[in-house]
Symmetry: D2
Subunit: 316 residues, 4 copies
């Protein structure tokens, strides 16, 4: 039953769902690290086989997740640590190429909807260098090796009439970067993860992910160059939160001893009937809604700064 | 059981809840009108007695609600009709005073959180006249009677360290307006109402209302001059949507014939036990979250324009 | 001497400069109309020959200028008239093509610098239809002929590291519009013209024009499809205003009878010496500065609305 | 003649003007320091007597100016140094009071006009603490002494219909801070100083200063508590730049040997005639215009961050 209405853009949560349901997935390798001094947990998940990819509903590749309880707090020094860690992880996922690189950073999402503004606001704070290098050469920076960084905020379809993918493909064709970094706000399953998790993957953006839920995919297959995606969950789908709670309610009824009569009744329903019961109750309007914290503006401000710092360090 | 976690800033929905529960409320008079040509429904509710006020959990006074299915559509002519109607309703609630009036419009809420930005953005589009009248007199406008309109966007506590109430009281003390219009984004119970309903009341802003849920009250008692509040629901509290759906689920189980065993089981629970069951399932984090449509940016843009037009017409 | 430091993006002003200097230009045809009821002056200038183009420093083509004293006033009905007129002029310059058209509107300039934000803000208020047509077909609009409108805000080089031209070429390659409309804030020579003039031309954007002064050209030659440019002057170059005033001063000295000694002295200088005199006084920093009205925010707000209305009417 | 059209909000420049004209001012004490390692020059000017105040056209008090060539460059470490220095200077000017203090920071100016947005954007990045202290007490911060910081962005008259002074007086009356810090963008005489100078004064805001040129004064006399004003010049008045250049031109003519005939002619004019000559040439429209750098958006972004950091350090 758990496949119903549970949408998450985090590979970590997809895997957790399997664990909840006691399903084993093959072809997925997982490693966990804990940086005690900064209270950061790093999970590296590699989907190694096509079967693993099918089971996970996500393409083969590496998914690194940084989790930190304090990521949503107002502490500049701590955010510096996260930026440094992020820079390391991004560089780890970069394809082996001769350096310096030409990097296009795409800030996906809708600047006008607070939890979806992460991508655009990361690009606002980036150190953009491509135009200076083109005009003055690397000596403008007094260093041996300078990466050329460019940035684009493609906007959303209601604003442009175009897919982000169309705009980005065009820009790549014209400016020929070596690699693209795509920044996006994500949907999680659990409210507990919002603004406290960063996912970095070398598989790019999956079709259908993001806050607005209408993204076409952005990957080497669709844009022609390697795409590293960096995402932070900032919303939970309204349908997900409601269906999740209802399942918890049903589960509680089944477990709860002083509700034994209920338990009997529900056991009489098969999974399909439970599914139907919930589907009837879920208003179709919920599919166009999301859940987000009331102070999301402060999280987005902090996170966008932390992410752009990470990229500025990675490509300095 | 229905009083649990169901928060709404709409008097209309508070009353509907009583009807659902088959509770009759005394001291509340209701009139409904339907403007067929523009598909606008207007409900006027007058809380006439202290008992009515206590039952409704809202102060005595008049609550007018405009409902229109198409309020959330992109049709300028239609929005003009709503602005005209709004202007009439606002003028109807104005205290009897010698005109021209000096009017302070306060745009409450957080400009940085999209569904809470309604108030600030209404003030952005207002025709502000007070300073011109003060400098050049009414002849600057070539008319007999010109109202003096001023506007303030007090911001939210995390931005200013101050209550909106403190800022507004100070501004009123210094500039002595005759009446205040407070614009605010509201929380509804039903997602169906979001961006399609306008509530106008002469009771001001209730403590605890609004998207951010931390407003102190703004009324004649607290700021010293009559306060007309204009609100549009743009969010549903996450706790409300979840608890509401769970209650519907339980209700469905109780009603549903092929779930009769369940029915028996649930009937064995009294209201308090059901309440406890839900409370356990509701994560406390939900109280800091709201549900809002993915295209809320477009609704806020349109609505803020429609509301400022309404006020510009009312005080032209 | 007048060619010195006098930069203007308005063909009208280039021609005036020739008239000031009593120079006749061949190959340029001019027609003037006056719409008395709305106090709008329309000048159509056609640069017909290569010699005319060389003399004017602008490519061959049609330059239409709307001038209206009240364009900078707060009167919605009047702005409606300007929008209607603009729609007519834009349609007049459209290439003969089978309709409906696919139109890309590019909002050039820097959203973060008020007088340069015109282009981006025009796109903010456009009726974008391309994505709806692509998904639902023209019947979504219940009309026979619906133009597909898309919009792009390419940003400026300091923000993206890329030329607007690069981004726009890429977008055109991917989405194949029939025609492009480029909106841009312009530099005028005279402060009197700021926010009161609209120039519409079928020659596109000239290299070096605009507030930021770094635009590459955007024309059929460089982007592959016809480009209609719509511009409004919002700044005067600081070097232009200073050198213009100094020339007026020198001119006044030469003319002024009670300054006859001066006159003699200045007459002793040839044009080259006067040029050198001014050049020495002009700080090189002035070339990175512009002059703009203190209330430019209000002008940009109104004008961007008037221009997007014009385009919405033209492509409805 | 030099008093004509030369407006500056910098006490430093007022004094320089006197030096240019070889006028000695009494009652003004000046000290200069140079922090070589950070290339920062600090000038402390104390207007000690009423005569000094009259001569300077500024009230008695202390004016500290920080000048640094690199203040307008993109170097975070360097900006940290400036923030630290600013914090020291602000604390130096604070009145002797028992600590911890309650501090109101007012961000003056117009958020919608880039060079005037400095004040509002400084408040955006402040660490606001008053509401936390009020709710949880100083132990929320785990420190002995915590200052209560609140912030207000009063907006400009065209947006609110009210004077900044009215709003601020009201806020002070309601919230009783011990001291106010007013942040404002200033007009300089020299373009060379733009974005490279910070003026800190214990005399508050002078009437008529600022980019918009319409400020009423904000000082202990008008708002009832000590006011420390922090300003950065971001514009030059258009009339100032033009009249200044014309005076330089006339001066050059008088000095220049190969223009001796001119020299004779101009010497025949007395100062009043020269004044009239310039006044005639200065278009009245220039008084409503300012000159600002094309990349003012980047300067404002950096400077607002540097100033808020300085205040965050001063009141941590």
């Amino acid at each position: 039953m758990s496949q119903f209405q549970v949408r998450t853009d985090l590979a970590l949560e997809t895997r957790e769902k399997f664990e909840e349901d006691n399903v084993e997935i093959k072809g997925v390798r997982v490693e966990e690290e804990f940086r005690q001094e900064h209270d950061i947990k790093i999970t590296t998940m590699v989907i190694e086989t096509e079967n693993g990819a099918k089971a996970m509903g996500k393409p083969r590749g590496t998914y690194i997740t940084m989790e930190a309880e304090n990521m949503d707090c107002q502490d500049e020094d701590y955010h510096r640590e996260i930026s440094l860690e992020l820079a390391k992880l991004v560089r780890k996922l970069l394809p082996d190429q001769k350096e310096p690189l030409s990097v296009l950073v795409a800030g996906l999402g809708n600047r006008e909807v607070t939890p979806d503004a992460l991508g655009p606001r990361v690009v606002d704070n980036l150190l953009i260098t491509r135009h200076v290098l083109k005009e003055f050469g690397k000596y403008a920076f007094g260093e041996e090796e300078v990466h050329a960084v460019s940035g684009i905020v493609p906007g959303v379809m209601a604003q442009t009439g175009m897919e982000s993918q169309e705009i980005i493909r065009g820009v790549i064709e014209e400016t020929s970067p070596d690699v693209m970094i795509a920044i996006d706000a994500l949907a999680a399953r659990s409210t507990r993860r919002l603004s406290r998790t960063i996912q970095i993957t070398d598989t790019g953006i999956n079709p259908g992910s993001g806050v607005g839920n209408h993204r076409h995919g952005l990957s080497k297959e669709t844009v022609g160059i390697p795409v590293i995606a960096i995402g932070v969950p900032t919303v939970v789908d309204a349908a997900t939160i409601v269906s999740d709670t209802m399942q918890t309610l049903i589960h509680a009824m089944e477990e709860n001893s002083h509700l034994s009569a209920l338990s009997t009744g529900l056991n009489a329903l098969n999974d399909m009937e439970k599914y139907e019961l919930i589907r009837e109750l879920l208003s179709p309007q919920l599919n166009t809604m999301f859940v987000t914290p009331k102070d999301i503006d402060e999280s987005i401000k902090r996170l966008s700064y932390t992410l752009s710092e990470g990229l500025n360090i990675a490509f300095a």
